[in-house]
Symmetry: C2
Subunit: 245 residues, 2 copies
């Protein structure tokens, strides 16, 4: 018999957060953080209402958990400075700091392809996580900050931090861009639990499905995290592009 | 006859800022930003009092200048989160944004070796600016943020941004660490005006003297910015280390 880990998911009302809350409950004892209100039928009973930008309100949510999956953020590439400052920069710092203070040793930080979006704009492919960052938005800048802060919390305080640069999370791809940047729901679930279980101290990894037309390196995700993606957007290519596409 | 550039120096009361204000006045028409009060005898008449964290107060300082040398910051590696958030993160954003809004096309951003300080702690030398960042402090994290934000302002808005990772600015080195990370006053002045004059769109460069015992790459600084350091801390080695040191 093994003891189940207790895992906090922040942003559990969000598009990806709510999916993870539903699909990781059989593997972990989940605690779910909501910003304002708890949905009518939350998937688990252990819930915590707090804005991540409010350290004192957030901190108790980290007490007694083995890992936190930090999904809460303003996820819009059009997010204003004021919004990403509060929700993404201050919010990420508060999660790392509360984790450190509470003795929670593992942070899975949801970051984004937008950290490297200017390479995509210039079609400078492939992209590896080790390249210098080139964000395409203040959102991307704010997520790069969270990756860097995680590096410091690892080096300085010994937190294990896995940064997942999440692609386009959708039930299925619907267009040409989706063919290369899709992250399927079940691959999202897998890559997050692989990150939780990983013994790695710090790393940044692209999180997309094994799309035949991908432009971002997932070799490191496969090799280091043990990720075994099950889906490939190519299955939808003919439907999206038409015959001969 | 050439037109002299108008250059704003923020943090002009600081240790490096005041040196630059004194030594760049013969080359440029300077405007000096002070946080609270203007010193008794400012080196130039064009002064502006504003806290960089206050966008509305700061913005007029950028109007009509060709370049800004952004030195204002909490420079302490022991700076708290609250301090670096306000002074370094919000402050840097406000300078970039005010530059963009005012049509000031060039930002020289003062950053630091502390962005890479964990490599130094682990003696993983040499260090090149192209390596992933490993800050040793929240100060270092905040300066890495400023570098990344500058990358975005360049890519998105066309600002030319030169990030100088300034070493240990001192009249002369006094100890063993100083022998490798020293930046002499006249080399500081030179590397800043080289950055102002450079046609490069975006770059990050170490700014130290040509110390024989250096651990940080200045090949790029020499090659790309045209920097020609005049001083070498080695001149003080025997005095510091004793005979045979």
């Amino acid at each position: 018999m093994t003891t189940r880990k207790r895992v906090l998911i922040t942003g559990a009302a969000g598009r990806i957060g709510s999916h993870l809350a539903a699909t990781l409950a059989d593997r972990y004892d989940l605690r779910l953080q909501y910003n304002r209100t708890v949905p009518a039928n939350p998937p688990v009973a252990d819930v915590h209402i707090a804005n991540c930008a409010d350290y004192e309100a957030l901190a108790p949510a980290l007490v007694g958990v083995d890992a936190v999956v930090h999904m809460a953020a303003d996820p819009s590439p059009r997010g204003t400075w004021e919004s990403v400052l509060e929700n993404n920069i201050v919010g990420a710092r508060n999660v790392y700091e509360a984790a450190r203070a509470a003795g929670c040793r593992k942070v899975v930080f949801a970051t984004t392809n937008h950290v490297m979006g200017m390479y995509d704009r210039d079609q400078q492919w492939p992209i590896y996580c080790s390249q210098p960052v080139r964000p395409d938005s203040l959102y991307g800048v704010s997520k790069a900050f969270g990756e860097t802060l995680g590096r410091w919390y690892h080096d300085q305080h010994g937190l294990a931090v896995i940064c997942l640069r999440i692609g386009w999370f959708l039930p299925r791809p619907h267009d040409e861009i989706g063919l290369w940047m899709w992250l399927s729901p079940r691959d999202a679930t897998q890559v997050v639990w692989r990150a939780i279980e990983s013994p790695i101290g710090y790393g940044i990894y692209y999180a997309i499905s094994r799309n035949a037309r991908r432009h971002w390196d997932i070799t490191e995700t496969i090799e280091r995290l043990g990720y075994r993606p099950e889906d490939d957007a190519e299955a939808y290519a003919q439907e999206i592009l038409g015959p001969g596409g």
